[in-house]
């Protein structure tokens, strides 16, 4: 047996270090990846979101109703962003995802509390993401005991006794059993589509440059737009097949509810596929090698998974992270998919997310076209 040669190992080791420093992108990965991601995700991700947007329909404006609202806000989990005038308005706000919670204080609230006659308030939660609402719902349990401590004095002091002065009725909408899969599986559609499509295109185009076939292609009369459409069209088909497979499995294996919104879903899927492909194409105009294209795709994938609301509640993130998350197309795609499948929303209700996806497609495709060169300059 031959012995190990330290000199030979050192030779390879030195060569490896030199190559590492030559490839600036790899170098960037080594430093930026851990530092950037630690700062970004460490501060952004929060599994116990607070200050969740809440709409209120206060049919009783009395002091006890006001105290109840004050106690709700003081719990730290709720932030009243809207005062609704009708149950319909309240309903819409939850459906569109504008608020996470809707609180109704019925007109006879004070009267019933005073009489000790089963007073109730209704809290409807958008429970499509169980993780986002879990903490807030637990906080509701202690609300009746603390909310009216200052109001129940004098003649009604007896109501502050053994039993709670009122009851909080919690209505978990869209996902009453708080099944995580209902939220995660539609979300996976977004993650899987972007993972395969962005990477496949980025690698597919970079490969042409790396192998030198792009040089021949550029010497032909083929125009950039023709090359782009021709190269991307097959992947649109790939994306559609993936979508169908994921949806069928979601239904068959996870019994994910499909409440409708098919047109909105189809539109969202199409925009998202085209946007992901355009992004892959854009990456390929920047990356010089397939390895770089792969690394850049990863740079994109991490925030897509962590900041989009796929894994952690979007509303749990600080404002700056939400802004960052709003730039990522997956965020809007997830809203479309979850909204359409779990809530049965139509295009009119989902238009902000669909418009955001459309904007992304136009911006990225435009940028990719501007960067793609018909020459090798």
């Amino acid at each position: 047996m031959r012995g190990l040669s330290g000199a030979r190992i050192l030779a390879v080791l030195i060569k490896e270090f030199i190559q590492l420093t030559r490839d600036r992108l790899t170098y960037a990965m080594i430093l930026i990846l851990p530092i950037g991601q630690l700062l970004l995700f460490g501060y952004a991700i929060n599994n116990d979101p607070r200050d969740l947007p809440t709409a209120v329909l206060a049919q009783d404006q009395g002091p006890m109703a006001r105290s109840t609202l004050a106690a709700l806000v003081n719990s730290g989990y709720f932030k009243i962003v809207r005062t609704a005038a009708s149950p319909r308005e309240l309903d819409e706000a939850v459906a569109r995802g504008e608020v996470q919670f809707a609180l109704t204080i019925p007109a006879d609230f004070t009267r019933r509390v005073v009489r000790g006659d089963q007073a109730q308030i209704l809290v409807e939660a958008d429970a499509s993401d169980p993780a986002a609402t879990g903490g807030a719902i637990s906080a509701l349990a202690s609300l009746p005991r603390v909310a009216l401590s200052r109001d129940l004095v004098g003649p009604v002091a007896a109501r502050a006794g053994a039993s709670d002065p009122f009851e909080v009725v919690i209505h978990r909408r869209y996902n009453p059993e708080a099944i995580t899969a209902y939220n995660i599986v539609p979300g996976l559609l977004g993650v899987i589509l972007s993972m395969t499509l962005v990477m496949m295109t980025a690698l597919g185009v970079t490969r042409e440059y790396e192998r030198g076939t792009m040089e021949s292609l550029l010497a032909t009369p083929a125009r950039p737009i023709e090359v782009m459409i021709g190269k991307l069209a097959p992947y649109v088909a790939v994306g559609l097949v993936q979508t169908v497979v994921i949806l069928v499995l979601a239904k068959a294996l996870f019994a994910v509810p499909m409440a409708g919104g098919w047109l909105a879903l189809a539109l969202g899927v199409l925009l998202f596929i085209v946007g992901s492909l355009a992004l892959g194409f854009l990456i390929s105009t920047v990356a010089r090698t397939q390895l770089q294209a792969m690394q850049m795709s990863f740079f994109y994938m991490m925030p897509s998974i962590l900041l989009s609301g796929f894994m952690f509640p979007f509303r749990g993130m600080p404002a700056w992270a939400q802004v960052l998350g709003s730039v990522i197309p997956v965020t809007h795609f997830l809203r479309v998919v979850r909204g359409a499948l779990l809530k049965g929303l139509d295009t009119a209700q989902l238009w902000p997310s669909l418009a955001a996806l459309g904007l992304f497609v136009i911006a990225i495709a435009g940028l990719a076209m501007a960067r793609y060169r018909t020459t090798l300059d």
Binding site: R211, G212, T213, E215, P221, T374, D377
Partner: protein, 311 residues
């Protein structure tokens, strides 16, 4: 119609601080094969790429195939075939699929027929289903050539087409190029091989971005003014003639002294000085003859000159 297929003047191209092509003017007659020679990094590939619209020149003007090569780059592309230095067909497509792709990209009529004819001309009809990546180097080059002339271009640009190809395949490749030229195709080919240079009708020598010499092989040799002596045999103490290269190289009047097998070529431009330099070695055992300089001698001389100018 002008008799020149390529007539461009004052071509310039820089990549950052590197001025890769400097004021190059090229004239190529229709139906002729022009060899484009020069050391590595001399700007040959860049010049060819500018002519076929792959690179945008910083300055320069002129006509390719009677068209303004900058303004009508698209039209030039349609009539130009370009074969890259590196094999640039799809290795994971079959021979036939590659040709079919090229035919479609050029929107050729009678596509199937053209592909079939091309396969027959190549002699690859039986192997048309084979993946291009599995072909040998020589066959790859012939396939790439067939692909670059499939749309019947009027001008063919070849960038070091035979690098790494064995002599027999090279011979066949050149036979094919001459056949195409005989049919009226204008060919510009860059190469490092002197035997290939001699197979061209005309030669253009470019070094460090500048065009140094142009004309037929004979004219280029004559223009160089180079005088070459050849020594054969041994010195008095039994050293082979080829071993004298080192001793002669530094002498005044000697531009270069290079061994050719067992013989030695000593060249210079000043006959008297050259004679004086070799005088000490005019020994009975060494046979000195004046010979015609080879193209290689001339090019090495040009290379030395241009690098002097460059520094």
């Amino acid at each position: 119609m002008s008799a020149l297929a390529v007539d461009v003047r004052g071509l310039n191209k820089s990549f950052g601080p590197r001025h890769v092509v400097q004021d190059v003017s090229i004239q190529v007659e229709r139906g002729r094969i022009t060899g484009f020679l020069g050391p590595n990094g001399s700007g040959k590939t860049t010049t060819l790429r500018m002519l076929c619209g792959l690179l945008t020149p910083d300055s320069g003007e002129g006509a390719v195939l009677g068209l303004d090569f900058r303004r009508d780059a698209e039209a030039v592309k349609r009539q130009t075939g370009y074969m890259t230095q590196k094999f640039s067909l799809y290795e994971d497509l079959s021979i036939e699929e590659n040709l079919d792709f090229v035919a479609r990209v050029h929107e050729l009529d009678r596509r199937r027929q053209r592909v079939r004819e091309s396969l027959e001309r190549l002699g690859l009809t039986a192997r048309r289903k084979q993946l291009a990546g599995s072909l040998s180097g020589g066959w790859k080059q012939r396939l790439a050539l067939a692909a670059s002339v499939l749309h019947a271009p009027k001008l063919l640009l070849l960038d070091e087409p035979t690098a790494g190809v064995d002599p027999k395949a090279r011979r066949e490749f050149w036979d094919e190029i001459h056949a195409l030229s005989a049919e009226g195709l204008t060919v510009m080919v860059s190469t490092h091989y002197m035997d290939e240079a001699e197979r061209c009708h005309d030669i253009a020598y470019i070094a460090y971005g500048r065009l140094m010499a142009r004309g037929t092989a004979e004219a280029v040799i004559a223009q160089s003014g180079l005088i070459t002596f050849r020594a054969e045999g041994q010195t008095a103490d039994g050293t082979g003639a080829d071993r004298l290269a080192g001793a002669l190289a530094g002498r005044p009047g000697v531009i270069m002294a290079a061994p050719f097998g067992a013989a030695l070529h000593v060249s210079g431009v000043d006959r008297a000085a050259l004679e004086a330099a070799i005088a000490p070695y005019r020994q009975p055992t060494l046979r000195w003859t004046e010979v015609q300089p080879t193209l290689e001698d001339v090019f090495i001389r040009l290379m030395g000159q241009s690098s002097d100018n460059f520094q």
